[in-house]
C-alpha cells in the first residue's frame, strides 16, 4: 500500500514538474511583437530612413526637433505609444522590451512624399504605377512588405492619406 501511494505521489510530482518545465521564454500575457527588417517599404526624411519596427531613438536624433509630441499610455499594460509631429508627417512609436520602436508614419500634407514619389494629392494612376494594381473604384489600396503595411486612401481618384503601418502580432 505504502509503495503504491509513494508511486502515486512520485507520479503527481513528475506531472507537476513536467507542466512547469515544458514552457520556455516569456509567459507574460502582454501584447508582443516581433520581426525583422528586409526589403520593407520605408519612409525617408532628410538623412533618416524610417523602417517599421526600427528603433526610434537614432531616428529621432536624425530627424531633429519635432513640432509636437503626444504620449498615450496603454490602458493596462506597461508601455507607451508616442506620436511625434514633424509638420508634413507624424512618426508613431510603441514600447517593446523597454525600447521605443516605430509603429507607423502618417503623411499629413503634400510637402512630403514616399520614396516612390507618392504624396497627398497624387492620382490613383500614379499609385498604380508606383506600387501596383488595386481593385477598380477602390477607395483605398494596401500593399504589404515584411514588416510594413502601406495604406493609401483615395477620394475621387486622388490620394488623401498615406500611412505606413508596422505589421505586429496582436
Amino acid at each position: 500500500m505504502r509503495k503504491k501511494i509513494s508511486a502515486v505521489i512520485a507520479l503527481v510530482l513528475v506531472l507537476a514538474i513536467t507542466l512547469c518545465a515544458c514552457g520556455s521564454g516569456s509567459n507574460s500575457v502582454t501584447p508582443n511583437n516581433s520581426g525583422s527588417n528586409t526589403k520593407d517599404f520605408v519612409f525617408k526624411s532628410g538623412s533618416a530612413t524610417i523602417a517599421m519596427k526600427a528603433e526610434a531613438e537614432p531616428l529621432l536624433k536624425a530627424l531633429g526637433a519635432y513640432k509636437n509630441s503626444y504620449e498615450a499610455p496603454s490602458c493596462a499594460f506597461d508601455g507607451m505609444d508616442k506620436i511625434y509631429s514633424y509638420g508634413g508627417f507624424d512618426l508613431m512609436t510603441y514600447t517593446q522590451n523597454g525600447k521605443d520602436l516605430v509603429s507607423g508614419v502618417v503623411l499629413r500634407d503634400d510637402t512630403v512624399e514616399t520614396p516612390e514619389g507618392i504624396a497627398i494629392g497624387s492620382s490613383a494612376d500614379a499609385v498604380k504605377k508606383a506600387y501596383g494594381e488595386f481593385e477598380k473604384d477602390a477607395t483605398s489600396a494596401t500593399y504589404k512588405s515584411e514588416n510594413c503595411k502601406l495604406l493609401i486612401i483615395f477620394e475621387n481618384g486622388v490620394v488623401t492619406s498615406v500611412q505606413y503601418i508596422a505589421l505586429v502580432e496582436k
Binding site: 500500500m1 502515486v8 505521489i9 507542466l19 512547469c20 520556455s24 507574460s28 493596462a76 488623401t160 500611412q163
Partner: protein, 351 residues
Amino acid sequence: MKKRIVKIVICVVLLAATLFLLQKLLVPKYATTNEEGILSSEYYANAGNNDVLFIGDCEVYTNFSPVKLWRDYGITSYIRGTPQQLTWQSYYLLEDTLRYETPKVVVFNVLAMKYAEPQNEAYNRLTLDGMKWSRTKLDAVKASMTDEETVASYIFPLLRFHSRWNELSSEDINYLFRTEKLSHNGYLMRVDAKPAGQVPDPVPLPDYTIGHKCWEYLDKIRETCEQKGIKLVLIKAPSLYPAWYDQWDKQVVEYAAKYGLEYINFYTLADETGIDYNTDTYDAGLHLNLSGAEKLSAWFGKYLKEKCGVEDRRSDAALAAEWAEREEFYEFMKEAQYKQLREEGAVTRYK
C-alpha cells in the same frame, strides 16, 4: 474492493489538489502589476442593490465615481468596466450581472464599437478570467477568443500559465489565496493631473463602417434591457484620445434614434460638465482623474435622477451603512495618493 476504491479516491484527490495548488500559484495575481485584471472579479462581493450598471472599457472605470453618485444623489451603482472591454464582452458582463441583480439603468460606453473582431489574449484575460464560471462565461470566452486561444485554457488556466514558473515573484506567494480591494464599486481612482496639451490629429481610416458583430451585440444588450424593463443609455466618455470619429458618432446617433435610446456624447458637453482638460485628466486626455470623474458624475447623477427616475436611497439605513464603508475606503485611497504626490511627486500605486 473497498481498499481499491479508497486508493483510487486518494490518488484522484491528491492529483486534483496538486493541480489546484499549481494553478493557484501560476496564474497572474494582478495585485501589484496590471491591477485592472482584478476589476472583473471584484464585482461579486458587491453584487446586489445597484440601481445603475455601467459596462464598457477604461472609459467607464476611470471616468465615473459611484461614491460621488451616492454622496450627491443617493444613487447606487456599479461599474463593470475592464480594459479594452469589447462589445460582446459588455453584453456577457450584463448577462452575468443579471444573474445577481436587475438594475434600473444600464449605461454602455460605445468606444469599443470601433473593434469588430477579437483583439488580443492579454486584454481578453483581464476581462474573462475574473468572471465566475457559468454558461455566460463560456459564451463570453467563445465570442472573445483569438485564433491562438482555446476554451480549455480558460477552464484550466494552468494550461496557459504552466510555463510561468520562471517568472514567479513574491507577489505570487503573498496573494496565493487572497486579493486586496482595489476599486470603488468598479471605479479606479487616480488623483494626479497631466494637462492634455496638443492632441494629434486623427488618422484617416479607409472605412468608417462600424462592424456587424458590434451591432449584433448592441442589439443583444438593447433587447435584454427591454425584456428586463431596464432603461439603456448609450454614452461616449469625454476622452480626447484615441479618436472617436464623427462618422462613428453619426452611426450611433442613428441607432439611438431608431430604437428611441438616449445617447450622450460627453465630449460635446465639456462646458456643461465643467471638464477642464488642463486639470481633470491624469494622462493628457485619455482618462479623467478624480476631479474629472467627480465632475462628470455630478452632471450624470442629475441626469439619472431627473431623466431616468433613479431614486435617492440614502434613507435606507442598511444601504447607508454599506456606502459609509465605501466612502471610508475612497477617502483612504484619495489621501494615500495625495500623500504620494506630496512626498514622491507622482502617483505610482493606487494605495
